[in-house]
């Protein structure tokens, strides 16, 4: 167990792009996914001489809300600073950021690890800044191009304390942070699209080493949760090996190389910039009143952690289902609307039914299954949210009831749901239109079974001789006669009785 003594020390810097109408410091539109370069620009974005920044109120609002959602303190005063460096994608020659008075300080976020252990990840700060443009290097051409569409996009940088100890913890933190950003409505927080970016700093502590190791390696260029996990694992292994040999890894910036599946040294920190921070003279300090902070707190939605806890208590669903629902804020709203439709029905149903909690539990599980399976799949194809579909919560509740009542088979229900999704409408009517009612009339089923028994003597004989397989064949024949609409439980039951 010697290895366990080498403890990873990990801190995460996460940038999320805030969802605002205009840029962080000007009126140009904040639209991503542009195909044409240099469209979302104006004199402020391209730093024309004489242009001045004006802080975006909506971005400040979203940043403060994120701060509150992450249990941070929002100080009364916050200010912007200029961070200087030269790069073609940075139009002003400085980035407007926040040095010593970030908008949010000292918070935490709770994660549950796969072994069930709960851990609070301490957040050091969250500050506002602006994104850079993109440099483009056309293959084989002797020049580079710059696209400023992204320049000036509002960013919230969220920095943890170096309190993360494994790749798994890092991943869980990122996933929860993503959920929170989406719940708050601050960002799409999509790693693949770059609206959420993560730069882990990793070092490995020697057995018995006190304080932080005398170096750290930052990893850039990671665009998925999976790669964050892989990059951290790779670094931990690399650095642990070095430290075991008595070496101190160089303080360097690494890049994640997807093809090699490893980190690669990018640049040495020794050549690091002196950013020559300057309090931004073009922007007065921000002042937050306690009324404003309370107003923002009041606007926060139920956050994933609270919702997770409540869903467990109220709906008794398996953890995996809850996790999957929680991942999609809009779907949780939809799910709860369907459940409340069903609850209304249960309450108005005969006393013996409304008293049965297992009945309610069964219905809720069925709703969760529809939400997470067929419905999610269809919505994902069209990149839609549940409330943008034609399937109303009332209609889905109705469908779940029809199944529970035995009025349609589960395979027929899938057809009905597709029709509801494509055209909208009441499931009972669709069942009628498509002729999918389940046959539960004992007399009708019994007469079909009689015919099947008469026509399949061999199978009957085989079954009676103990060949169970033949029973399945006979059920199939009966269902065929019933055009698939027979109530399968009833068909089974009647057939067994007749063959006794």
């Amino acid at each position: 167990m010697e290895n366990a003594e080498y403890k990873p020390v990990i801190g995460l810097e996460v940038h999320i792009q805030l969802k605002t109408k205009s840029k962080m410091f000007g009126m140009a539109p904040n639209k991503l996914d542009m195909t044409e370069p240099n469209v979302n620009i104006d004199e402020v974005v391209t730093a024309q001489p004489g242009s001045l920044p004006v802080a975006n109120k909506e971005a400040i609002r979203l940043a403060a809300k994120m701060g509150l959602a992450l249990n941070c303190t929002i100080d009364e005063w916050s200010k912007f600073d200029r961070k200087h460096y030269f790069y073609p994608d940075l139009p002003k020659g400085y980035q407007i950021s926040q040095l010593d008075q970030p908008i949010a300080k000292e918070g935490w976020l709770e994660i549950t690890k796969s072994d069930g252990a709960v851990k609070k990840i301490a957040i050091q700060r969250a500050h506002l800044e602006e994104d850079a443009g993109k440099n483009i290097h056309p293959d084989g051409l002797p020049y580079s191009l710059v696209d400023y569409n992204r320049a000036g996009t509002p960013l919230l940088e969220i920095v943890t304390h170096p309190c993360i100890e494994s790749a798994e913890e890092a991943r869980k933190y990122l996933e929860e942070l993503q959920r929170i950003a989406r719940y708050v409505g601050a960002s799409d927080a999509d790693m693949e699209k770059g609206s959420m970016r993560c730069e882990p700093s990793i070092s490995v502590r020697l057995p018995g080493e006190v304080g932080l190791p005398p170096y750290k390696c930052e990893v850039k260029n990671i665009n998925s949760f999976k790669f964050v996990e892989q990059a951290i694992k790779y670094e931990i292994e690399r650095q642990t090996e070095m430290r075991k040999e008595g070496l101190v890894p160089k303080q360097v910036t690494m890049g994640w190389n997807e093809k090699l599946n490893q980190t690669v040294e990018q640049r040495s920190k020794e050549e690091a910039n002196d950013y020559r921070y300057l309090p931004e003279p073009d922007l007065p300090p921000l002042q937050f009143t306690s009324e404003y902070i309370e107003e923002l707190r009041g606007e926060l939605p139920e956050l994933p952690a609270a919702k997770r806890k409540r869903f467990r208590e109220e709906y008794g669903l398996p953890d995996a289902d809850i996790e999957n629902l929680i991942n999609w804020k809009e779907l949780t709203y939809y799910f709860e609307n369907v459940v409340s439709e069903l609850d209304a029905w249960i309450l108005s149903a005969p006393a013996e039914l409304s008293g049965k909690t297992d009945k309610r539990g069964k219905l809720i599980k069925s709703v969760a299954n529809w939400c997470l399976q067929d419905f999610s799949a269809m919505l994902n194809v069209e990149h839609k949210n549940p409330d943008e579909s034609l399937v109303t919560p009332e209609n889905l509740a109705e469908l779940v009831k029809l199944i529970d009542d035995g009025k349609i088979s589960s395979s027929a229900a899938k057809q009905v749901f597709r029709a509801m999704y494509e055209r909208g409408g009441d499931p009972s009517e669709i069942v009628g239109d498509l002729g999918l009612e389940q046959v539960s009339d004992e007399g009708a089923i019994a007469s079909v079974i009689d015919v099947v028994i008469a026509n399949n003597e061999k199978a009957v004989t085989d079954y009676k001789a103990g060949l169970e397989k033949s029973f399945g064949f006979l059920v199939g024949q009966a269902m065929k006669e019933l055009k698939g609409k027979g109530n399968p439980n009833l068909v089974n039951e009647l057939l067994r009785n007749k063959l006794k």
Partner: protein, 497 residues
């Protein structure tokens, strides 16, 4: 008929009464510019075609029913720091020699809404780094009173253009004396607004926490009219204040007005005759009813030290954007990205810009920030508080705008004492963001040789007010000019031989 020295209200009347059209007036001033500029070099760019088309629009407006805005159809010039859409804006620098802005500065927008007519862009020290207009990439501007002398700076082209009757008024900017000092040396009236009174949006930045766009005019009355138009909160400049800017033009006597005379502003080493003229002006204010009060501003001496740190820090930062990537001068020699930066900037910037970039970069370097910039800002706070205290006792302060009259071209650096005292006179109030006027108050003989100007060279009185106290300095300036006619003196017409 002559128009070159008429005040705005007189021009307004002539235009409204259709005694002259805006096109004729514009042609008149363009002709003067074209005649005088080869000698004075007050203009970097003359925009004849744009001006005439703006004048035609103004004439259409005047010819349609209804009242005309105060500046409708009146020509003006703008220091070449004000961005003007489609019209080259150079900051008198090589690095922006070919720069044509895609947008108008807020002040230009306001003047265009008035249908005022921009006839050209005036010369300045490169990026406003100087007080003589000699560091311009396009050569020095000459003082219209004596073309062997400097007009002052950095708004030297603007002040000279008004003094020579090339325009009725001109836009200038001040960071640490750049409106007051050239106004004084060229014998025109100048207004340096309270920081935040006039939008900086679209004005090429020198030092952001100090820059104050303002104006040069024929009289305080003209400046008050301009203040009413140029002032106001701007959503594009977060440092503008939401203050009402509706200033009175009425002349009142100065009974009950307390005029502070800071002893630190009348020190030995300034030109004796200049000091005499300014003291005579204070006596005139007393005669008009004001009470003179000697005041003490002991922190004055720290002003230039604070400025020497704060201004270069902000300048170095503001000049970062001139990198040869998106606009402006780009070297033809670069082999890689680093060389694009290094060569474009070292070939494109003048010596003074480079000096300030180096100083500013140094004072903001890791480890030096606290010792320099942070400490300087603390001292700045002392200076601000000291003024605030003094303005509890007095309504305005008066002082010379400049310790000397215009010096000979190329000799500005020869008398460092003048430079030092000039800083004392202008920089502390700039650091405090205070409003000020410079008004002509007589003439003095130069100390460096003779001048062909018969009366000598103009001397300026500055009137400094408390923050947002424009009305107070305007009241004093209006009263002073109602009792004196120094602002009606003009240089002898330069002959075009």
């Amino acid at each position: 008929m002559k128009f070159e020295h008429l005040e705005l209200s007189e021009l307004r009347e002539k235009l409204d009464k259709k005694e002259i059209t805006s096109v004729q007036l514009t042609e008149y001033f363009l002709a003067r510019i074209e005649k005088l500029n080869p000698e004075l070099n007050a203009f970097v760019t003359i925009c004849r075609d744009e001006a005439l088309s703006q004048a035609r629009v103004a004439d259409d407006y005047i010819n349609s029913p209804g009242e005309n805005p105060p500046l409708c159809g009146i020509p003006f010039s703008a220091k070449d720091l004000f961005c003007t859409v489609g019209v080259r804006t150079t900051a008198s620098s090589k690095i922006l020699d070919q720069y044509i802005p895609p947008y108008d500065s807020t002040v230009i927008v306001k003047l265009k809404e008035q249908k005022a007519v921009l006839v050209g862009k005036t010369n300045l020290d490169q990026f406003a780094h100087g007080s003589s207009t000699e560091t311009s990439y396009y050569g020095p501007t000459k003082n219209p009173w004596d073309t062997s002398r400097i007009p002052g700076g950095s708004s030297g082209g603007s002040a000279a253009s008004v003094a020579a009757g090339m325009v009725p008024f001109a836009l200038g900017t001040e960071t640490g004396g750049s409106i007051r000092q050239p106004s004084s040396l060229c014998g025109v009236s100048g207004w340096k607004p309270t920081y935040g009174r006039v939008s900086r949006f679209g004005v090429i930045a020198m030092a952001s926490s100090l820059d104050s766009p303002g104006a040069h005019g024929k009289s305080v009355k003209d400046l008050v009219s301009l203040a009413n138009i140029m002032s106001g909160v701007d959503l594009k400049d977060s440092t503008t204040g939401d203050r009402i800017s509706d200033f009175r033009l009425q002349i009142a006597d100065l009974k009950g007005v307390r005029v502070g005379v800071p002893k630190q502003y009348f020190v030995d080493g300034m030109q004796e005759e200049v000091r005499e003229r300014v003291i005579e002006a204070t006596k005139e204010l007393e005669r008009l009813g004001a009470e003179l009060v000697e005041v003490d501003l002991p922190h004055t001496k720290y002003g230039s030290l604070v400025y020497a740190i704060v201004a270069p820090a902000e300048i170095a930062s503001n000049l970062s954007r001139y990198d040869g990537i998106r606009y402006g001068y780009v070297t033809s020699e670069a082999k890689n990205l680093l060389e694009v930066y290094e060569k474009s900037r070292s070939e494109g910037f003048g010596d003074e810009a480079k000096r300030r970039i180096m100083t500013g970069t140094y004072v903001l370097s890791a480890g030096y920030y606290d010792a320099y910039y942070k400490r300087a800002q603390k001292v700045r706070r002392f200076i601000i508080n000291e003024f605030a205290e003094v303005f509890k006792k007095v309504d305005v302060l008066v002082a010379p705008s400049s310790p000397n009259v215009a010096v000979t071209l190329g000799k500005a650096a020869d008398d460092p004492l003048f430079g030092y005292i000039a800083d004392q006179l202008n920089i502390p109030s700039s650091l405090a963001g205070l409003p000020a006027l410079s008004v002509p108050c007589g003439f003095a003989r130069p100390q460096d040789g003779v001048t062909p100007s018969v009366d000598g060279l103009p001397v300026g009185l500055q009137i400094i007010g408390p923050q947002w106290g424009e009305q107070k300095i305007f009241d004093v300036g209006l009263a002073y000019q109602s009792a004196t006619d120094w602002h009606k003196k003009h240089p002898t017409e330069i002959s075009n031989s």
